[in-house]
Amino acid sequence: MKESKSSLGFDFIKGFIQENPTFALAIGMCPTLAVTTSVVNGFWMGIAVLFVLTFANVFVSLLRNFIPDEIRIPIFVILIATPVVIVELVMKAYLPAIYEVLGIFVPLIVVNCIIIARAEAFAYRNPVMNSLMDGLGIGAAFTVNLMIVGGIREFLGTGQIVFGSAAFPSVPFFEPAAVMLTPPGGFITLGILMALFNVTIGAKGKTND
């Protein structure tokens, strides 16, 4: 296993561009679509993933020399499932409303491809600090993505963006399009955003030739 020579800064920032999980790699689609009816939902979902991802990355990286190759996948699953359960319990206790809205997508973080992919592709073959930065970076990028999608859908769908107690006032003459909060709106918004990413940022920072 070749150790990465990339800088910690790069490991953090790459998640936003070359390895942007949503727009460049197109993984973790289900939560990206399901919970992005508002910025707040997107934010908390993103934070949950960020935590799980960082936790899993760090532990996989720590244990990478002790995990036998053949059964690494089951071990990854355990290392991922544990923080997921923690997140679930914490959310249930402190953010019951959000937990209710996010529904089964919190436990489903367990099967989110982003996490197992990072564990396998990065943490399993990189030092702890790099893995930590990778987890934080990808997680942060994922959070930002969810908030962008959530923001667009929330604004177009309700006419305003509510975050905590603050709410952007609605624009005059604008009739919110309820469709943006429904699945069709979600799919189409994400599809268009991805296409836009492809022609702008993605075109510049292509990972593979």
């Binding site: 469709v179 943006m180 429904t182």
Partner: protein
């Protein structure tokens, strides 16, 4: 170049039909219904139609310009889309509704897939479904009374019919279109005239409208009455709502309907069944849009599995057997 001879593959003669001509035929066939809509629901209808058509053509032209593709608005397909979308709108809908609907229809449902011939759902219906989901109140409440043109309160005749199985409207009113409803769906006579024109001009296949309306009539007769089976008012069932408009002008859209005659019949029957499902047991009073959209989705499957038996099919197996039995060529 004209002094040189032209070489082209055979055949060297061609039918007079062109894509543009076909689209023009569709537009012509829609004119009676459009006119009827304008007469029945007032000049407001004309504004909606114009807004929709202009927006559709503009959307197509702008997209093609931006995407650096040849601008093909003169094939008239955008006009057809805009016109069809307008005819499905409530007559009192705000003017920006058809504009957004047409833009969505042309850009998202059609152009990004590569333009004419490559979209998999009927653009006009996708546009309509989109605005129904986006602004449901406008699309379900902005009705007008026929001839008096005042806003309507209470349920539409179709909603009443779905709940009670009866309608207070006579067949004559239904045929003339003197009822509340979408701009172009009410005047059945005008729609039928357009349909007959299209069938006579060999533009559409009769199997789709006949299969559709036949299935819907049969289903309405069986299930359409709250009093029991086989008592439904099947005639009102097909005349109320947009089934005639949809079956003649939308389900028959070439690009999104099967290419084989049998496949087209299945398309009609399938759309009829789903319309019935939504009308009788569903959450919406009208299911034509969704029924046709759903059949659009399964059209590739129909095309794949419903294919005509090729020439010589009957002998194919026999011939193979003979060949295996040592026969020579």
């Amino acid at each position: 170049m004209d002094d040189k001879l032209l070489i082209t593959p055979a055949p060297h003669i061609s039918s007079v039909k062109t894509v543009r001509g076909i689209m023009l035929d569709v537009v012509i066939s829609l004119l009676p219904a459009t006119l009827a809509g304008i007469i029945i629901f007032g000049i407001r209808s004309l504004q909606l139609v114009l807004a929709s058509v202009i927006a559709a053509v503009a959307a197509e032209a702008i997209y093609q310009k931006v995407a650096k593709k040849p601008v093909t608005v003169n094939d008239m397909s955008a006009v057809v889309t805009g016109l069809l979308l307008a005819l499905t709108l409530p007559p009192d809908a705000p003017i920006w509704i058809p504009i957004i609907g047409s833009a969505f229809a042309i850009i998202v449902a059609k152009q990004i897939f590569g333009g004419l011939g490559t979209n998999f759902v009927n653009p006009a219906l996708a546009g309509r479904a989109f605005i129904v989901a986006a602004w449901p109140l406008h699309m379900t409440q902005d009705w007008l009374n026929p001839m008096t043109h005042d806003a309507i309160t209470g349920a539409t005749p179709l909603a009443v019919f779905n709940n009670t199985g009866t309608t207070s409207l006579g067949v004559k009113d239904l045929l003339l279109g003197l009822r509340a409803g979408s701009l172009g769906e009410t005047c059945i006579i005008a729609l039928l005239a357009g349909g007959i024109y299209l069938i006579a001009r060999d533009v559409i296949d009769w199997r789709i409208p006949v299969g559709y309306l036949g299935t819907l009539a049969l289903g309405t007769w069986i299930f359409g009455s709250p009093n029991g089976f086989f008592q439904g008012d099947w005639l009102s069932g097909i005349l109320l709502g947009g089934a005639v408009l949809g079956s003649i002008f939308m389900a028959t859209d070439y690009v999104t309907s099967p290419v084989t005659p049998t496949g087209r019949f299945y398309m009609g029957v399938g759309a009829g069944i789903i319309t019935l499902l939504i009308r009788v047991w569903g959450g919406y009073p009208e299911g034509v849009t969704y029924a046709i959209l759903f059949m659009n989705l399964v059209t590739p499957l129909i095309d794949k599995y419903v294919v005509p038996k090729y020439y010589g099919y009957m002998h194919d197996i026999q011939a193979r057997k003979a060949a295996a039995g040592g026969g020579t060529k």
